[in-house]
Symmetry: C2
DNA sequence: AAAATGTATGTTATAACATATCAATCCCTA
DNA sequence: TAGGGATTGATATGTTATAACATACATTTT
């Protein structure tokens, strides 16, 4: 739960199918409907440990006849985010598959500015100094965004 | 440097003029040019401890004949952010004045989803678990985004 | 003072991201 | 099998951000 997995995923086929199965199982448990568009959208996000914009997702969906208008992609992405199967990367206005689907967690991300690879780690930011500051002032934290941008190991040599 | 000040700023006139003076002094030191548009943009952001969208800023600038097209606002905001006089709030796609102008720091924000009030605190996220994870994988952190959204003390009763 | 330079601004157009609205359809269940 | 809620389709629009190019203006150089 702590270690970021994006940069060191060596068997991505297994990774993908495991995460997909977990998402399906979670839907069955919770009575959520994993429709074709939602499933395909999740598969598209799972194809790589990268963040994709809504319009990137839409382009792929559209190639397969699954809808060509923005709301199609945004609705599917919203569903995945709400269900805990994907996260929005605020610094990029883009989306990435969650590597701990269904589990309630406050994710933190390492984002490569060169290749858009995203690694998801955990955070306890709400239990740290910011949480202390919030409690001290009476602020109620509902959601946290923790994102670090920089260069991943693969992109340090070639481009930095 | 640690305590968030947004929710408990009692003398905002002093707050504003101090921050403005600090920004001007920093420009003088660094040879940066605090032009009319940049100055006015900073004043607009300093008017409250809130986050304003670029087009909110633009509307105010435009009322005063300081430019009516998007790049005017974006260029001024970019200058202020680069100079360390303002921050972008990624979760809102909006901008807020920095309360520690010129000082190199990794800010963290408490953001009220009801009134958009923003409190700036410090963070050592790069020295914590995410930093450990980054070092372990060889990721170089260049910039961090730490934002907590929720309800501020003033908005908890009325709206939650 | 004139020319050269560099920074900032003005202007137009468009790219990129996101949502409102409403009608049609699906699918569960009673 | 009819009703009701969720989902999808389709159109239009709203919002955020930048590309590309031209001009103004201050500073330095000659």
């Amino acid at each position: 739960m702590t270690d970021p997995i994006g940069f060191q995923c060596t068997n991505h086929n297994e990774c993908k199918s495991t995460l997909l199965a977990e998402a399906k199982a979670h839907c069955a448990e919770q009575g959520l409907r994993m429709t074709p568009v939602r499933l395909r959208t999740l598969e598209i996000l799972l194809a790589e440990h990268r963040a994709l914009g809504a319009y990137d997702v839409l382009a792929r969906l559209s190639e397969e006849g699954l809808g060509s208008q923005p709301p199609v992609a945004y609705r599917a992405l919203d569903f995945l985010v709400k269900a805990g199967f994907a996260h929005k990367i605020e610094a990029l206005n883009a989306y990435t598959a969650c590597v701990h689907p269904g589990a309630a967690h406050s994710p933190a991300f390492l984002i490569c500015r060169n290749c858009q690879t995203v690694a998801e780690a955990g955070t306890q930011i709400a239990q740290g100094r910011l949480g202390d500051a919030a409690r001290a002032t009476g602020f109620i934290i509902e959601h946290t965004v923790v994102e670090a941008t920089g260069l991943c190991p693969d992109c340090i040599g070639p481009t930095a």
